[in-house]
């Protein structure tokens, strides 16, 4: 799935909660108000859109801090996921 598409979904989830979406990709997730619950919804939407089963490993999850980290993680997961 394209990075821009995932970013659009990311912003849609925040926008629905009335949170600003004019952030830089290096912004910390806590600063933009992106919760772990939001990540789970985003991951679900990516899986549904990409038509693959996402697989998460613990080590990459621990490294996630910023918007960019989430996008990188989900781009990789949606590319390597099972059809």
């Amino acid at each position: 799935m394209q990075r821009t598409d995932i970013l659009a979904l990311f912003k849609e989830i925040l926008s629905r909660q009335g949170k600003p979406t004019d952030f830089a990709e290096d912004a910390e997730l806590t600063a933009v108000g992106f919760r772990s619950l939001d990540f789970s919804e985003l991951a679900l939407r990516v899986e549904m859109a990409a038509g693959v089963t996402l697989t998460f490993d613990a080590a990459p999850l621990r490294a996630i801090r910023t918007v960019k980290d989430v996008l990188d993680f989900l781009v990789a997961a949606s590319t390597s996921g099972q059809q």
């Binding site: 619950l37 990540f39 789970s40 991951a43 679900l44 939407r45 899986e47 613990a58 801090r65």
Partner: protein
């Protein structure tokens, strides 16, 4: 046993310790090696159909101070209550139950094995809870669809359901296997297996298999990270529960959409 008041008809196993100021009623049947703290009431007299029915406390249970257990209830082996817990009559609990301080179970409830309730949980009369259910602090399980009334519409929480802190489960709600209510959610209607429900509108947000915590590198189903907190005899059942929750993902993706 100094300072206790034990009815001569009460049946008390071997190795039982009873704290100061505790009263044991006539209907009490206390298993071996139980520890009962100070100022508890065990087998408090109940009215109606439960009057005179046994209060069975399974072996090895720990009942902490100021807890009140009504007659007509069963607590399985190795159960533990915190302080100031109330369990009304007609409640049937499986083994290895943990109930946090100041929680109350309002009677006629069925609670499966290895349930975990943190402090200040309120479990309305008639609630039906499966095995391995988690209730966090300040959760409220309701049962009256139009209060005040005598109508009863109790909730059902199936195996492995998790209700996070400050959540209210409305009368008649059904949380299917492995579903998850986020903190401060209002749960109503039927929540599909493995679904995550959140917010005051009780919106279906996602499936639990997508829930993760970055800092700790952990993810749901919770059995992946937390099974070690349960007894050995429960491990195979926890594994089966985990597989069931993971399997529910396919149905969720097919039939449910986030709202």
């Amino acid at each position: 046993m100094e300072g206790t008041l034990i009815h001569p008809s009460a049946k008390i196993g071997t190795g039982v310790k009873i704290g100061f100021g505790t009263r044991i009623g006539a209907s009490a049947v206390i298993g071996d090696n139980c520890v009962i703290g100070d100022h508890c009431t065990i087998a408090q007299e109940a009215g109606g159909e439960w009057k005179g029915r046994a209060l069975n406390l399974g072996e090895g249970s720990v009942i902490r101070s100021h807890t009140v257990l009504y007659e007509g209830s069963d607590l399985g082996a190795d159960s533990q209550t915190g302080h100031h817990v109330l369990i009304r009559e007609g409640t049937k609990c499986g083994p290895n139950l943990r109930i946090g301080s100041y929680s109350d179970i309002e009677g006629d409830c069925t609670i499966g094995d290895c349930a975990r309730f943190h402090g200040y949980a309120h479990i309305g009369r008639g609630s039906r809870l499966g095995n391995f259910v988690h209730l966090y602090s300040l959760t409220i399980l309701l049962n009256d669809p139009l209060p005040p009334s005598e109508a009863m519409d109790p909730v059902t929480l199936e195996d492995g359901a998790v209700v996070a802190v400050g959540t209210t489960v409305m009368p008649g709600a059904i949380m299917r296997v492995g579903s998850f209510a986020a903190s401060r959610t209002v749960v109503a209607g039927e929540i599909p297996a493995g679904a995550v429900v959140e917010g005051p509108q009780g919106c279906i947000a996602t499936h639990v298999t997508f829930l993760a915590n970055f800092a700790h590198g952990i993810r749901h189903p919770w059995t992946r990270n937390f099974a070690g907190r349960y007894p050995e005899w429960a491990q195979a059942r926890l594994k089966a529960l985990e597989e069931s929750i993971i399997a529910s993902r396919a149905d969720f993706l097919k039939n449910s959409r986030p709202n």
